[in-house]
């Protein structure tokens, strides 16, 4: 009897401890959720040390997570939170006469996510940043990717002095932030380089061209016979998935007002008969969709069908070569 009582008491104690442990964990989660600015000590990069000569840091480093990112960038927040955003660190640097630079350091979790938000927001006709794989500058700002980080440096007025200061900050930041040097975006090498508009490659992580299932999709601009044309490609897990996705996207185009049309180019014409390639008239633009191996690819909203078909052929040949070599 004594032994049984002892066992049941131990059992009750164990169960109680487990229940209290669960309640404690719930409480801790609530505390962490409701205190968005709590960060682990040593986790916030030392941005104050980036202060360039002749500047001061008039404020502390601000930290934002997905719960309160909107408090800093408002309506733009979902663009980041839906792309793997983890944290934003911001820091201001003040010069003379109200000169101000603001640094936005977005931790996007990985290189791919950082490249996505960088590429989608990239301004056209900008100057590439030297010694930077993904980076550009405008008359008052710098934008670049460094590993898992997407970085913006914005000056509140235009001047060479501020540009130089931002370049200095960017350099120091790259030296300070540890990144995975081996990370790369493999799909970038899949794009035909001839006639490509430099720096035009974008990565859509989701909802590409308004189609929910078209995830992890790259697009790029080409100049074909003087016409600007957008091509796209997405690498799926296998050929079956790619084929299914190509068909789904085709159905999506039809459901939204597209209609199938004939090819102009006889080379692509023979391809249409044999493979999944389809050409659509989509509100007086040309849309082309096909799959080859694990790739879904095509042309998006081209104004000129002939140029669109030429680009599609370029993509097909390049991707077919990739598939064959494997």
């Amino acid at each position: 009897m004594k032994a049984e009582t002892g066992r049941s008491k131990r059992l009750e104690t164990v169960v109680s401890i487990i229940l209290l442990g669960i309640i404690s964990i719930i409480c801790l989660c609530i505390i962490l959720r409701q205190s968005p600015r709590i960060t682990q000590s040593g986790d916030v990069p030392d941005l104050l040390s980036l202060t360039p000569q002749g500047f001061t840091a008039p404020s502390i480093t601000e930290v934002y997570n997905s719960g309160n990112l909107y408090e800093k960038i408002n309506g733009k927040a979902p663009q980041y939170t839906e792309s793997g955003f983890e944290r934003l660190f911001t820091q201001r640097f003040a010069g003379d006469n109200d000169e101000l630079i603001e640094l936005y350091l977005y931790d996007m979790g990985n290189l791919r996510n950082a490249f996505s938000v960088y590429s989608i927001q990239k301004r056209p006709q900008t100057e590439a940043l030297p010694n930077t794989k993904f980076g550009y500058k405008t008359s008052n700002s710098l934008y670049f990717v460094h590993g898992k980080y997407y970085i913006e440096l914005i000056a509140y007025s235009e001047s060479e002095k501020l540009i130089e200061a931002m370049v200095q900050i960017g350099k120091s930041l790259r030296g300070k932030l540890e990144i995975d040097q081996t990370a790369e975006i493999a799909e970038l090498s899949l794009f035909e380089q001839e006639n490509i508009v430099a720096g035009s490659i974008k990565l859509y992580l989701a909802n590409t061209f308004g189609f929910e299932d078209l995830t992890e999709t790259f697009s790029s601009r080409y100049i074909i016979d003087g016409q600007a044309v957008t091509g796209f490609l997405s690498k799926r897990t296998n050929a079956a998935e790619a084929d299914t996705l190509a068909k789904s996207y085709s159905d999506f185009l039809i459901e939204n007002g597209g209609s199938i049309k004939k090819a102009i180019n006889k080379n692509i014409g023979s391809t249409v008969k044999n493979q999944s390639l389809k050409i659509f008239d989509f509100y007086d633009t040309t849309e082309i969709v096909f799959s080859t191996g694990p790739f879904v690819a095509g042309v998006h909203e081209a104004e000129n069908q002939q140029a669109a078909e030429k680009l599609a052929l370029l993509f097909m040949n390049k991707l077919a070569g990739m598939v064959k070599s494997k």
Binding site: Y70, K72, G75, L100, N140, S141, E152, I154
Partner: protein
């Protein structure tokens, strides 16, 4: 051991365990009370505690509901736009207390175009005093970033003070709960309304901006700056909230600054290359009409902005701004 000893021991154990359980429950209760979020959504607010925003609108005069001025100079354009509608005197009377609600959402320089231009805001304040003979002009907003920083870095705080206007920074005590009759989203929601209880006229000054969510931010979206609470949840139904704001707020006049338009990367922008010189300023008693004209500066049509249709269907205004025969000046 006898049965009696066993039961005594059981009772003792029972009482001991009961006391421990009670202590645990009490401790849990104390922790819960400490963590209780007082700022959480209020429910059960009596209808007599809800405020209703006043109707600040003035009578529409046919042919003088909307004006559009083309040109690069904001100060000149706003004077001309107002004169085409009858002058500021038509809207602001002697002795009036006026509230101006510009876009001061971000702590960023006016140069970046994410906030209302300080010179424009100051000119409207000056006109209210100089020609409208206003008694007092307040300038207010509930910005996204820290309010004091926003008024400082946008330049609006300084510009307004220099012409005798008074900036009102939001404080919790200035928010009152309101419900929009028939509204889906604005129900028992805090708005920055206490300063508006003391004013006679309300003027909105907005910029034309691309917006990541709503595609455009103009005069109707400008009223987002009166919302309190965790208003970001409304982004999930952005078109409805903008339409409801336009139904809730009935201003005297709106001014839409399209002298420079943020055509991409809105609402924050960041690069000067996000801006395009569009040299257009609109003054209007009809927000829907103003925004319908303004969206053209972004390369959009009114049909591209669902909130315009929603507001029009609710009777707020018309997307057919041509029917108002707007006064044009080039």
């Amino acid at each position: 051991m006898t049965k009696r000893t066993q039961s005594k021991i059981d009772r003792r154990r029972f009482l001991s365990r009961s006391a421990k359980a009670a202590a645990s429950i009490a401790a849990a209760g104390i922790v819960a009370a400490t963590l209780y979020d007082k700022e959480g959504p209020r429910t059960g607010i009596g209808s007599d505690e809800l405020v209703t925003l006043r109707d600040f609108s003035v009578e529409h005069r046919p042919g003088k509901i909307m004006s559009v001025v083309k040109g690069p100079d904001r100060t000149g354009a706003v004077n001309q736009a107002l004169d085409l509608l009858g002058g500021i005197e038509r809207f602001v009377s002697q002795g009036d207390t006026v509230a101006i609600k510009p876009n001061v959402a971000f702590a960023s320089s006016a140069m970046l175009g994410a906030t209302s231009n300080p010179e424009l805001v100051a000119e409207v304040v000056r006109l209210c005093y100089a020609r409208g003979k206003a008694k007092k002009v307040f300038v207010l907003d509930n910005p996204i970033n820290d309010p004091a920083s926003c008024f400082r870095w946008s330049g609006i705080g300084k510009a307004v003070s220099q012409v005798g206007g008074k900036v009102i920074l939001p404080r919790e005590s200035m928010f009152r709960h309101t419900s929009l009759e028939g509204g889906k989203l604005i129900r028992n929601w805090p708005i920055f309304s206490e300063p508006l209880e003391k004013v006679d006229k309300l003027i909105g000054i907005a910029v034309v901006k691309d917006h990541q969510h709503s595609r455009a931010s103009m005069t109707m979206k400008n009223w987002y700056g009166l919302l309190g609470g965790r208003r970001n949840i409304f982004h999930q139904d952005i078109n409805t909230i903008i339409a409801e704001l336009a139904m809730l707020v009935k201003p005297t006049l709106v001014i839409l600054d399209g002298i420079q338009t943020m055509i991409t990367n809105g609402p924050t922008g960041g690069s000067l290359s996000d801006l395009k010189q569009t040299n257009t300023l609109i003054a209007s008693c009809d927000m829907v009409a103003a925004d319908s004209y303004g969206c053209g500066l972004l390369g959009l049509k009114p049909s591209d902005l669902p909130y315009l249709g929603k507001a029009e269907n609710a009777g707020v205004g018309t997307t057919d701004y041509e029917s108002l025969k707007p006064m044009l000046a080039i």
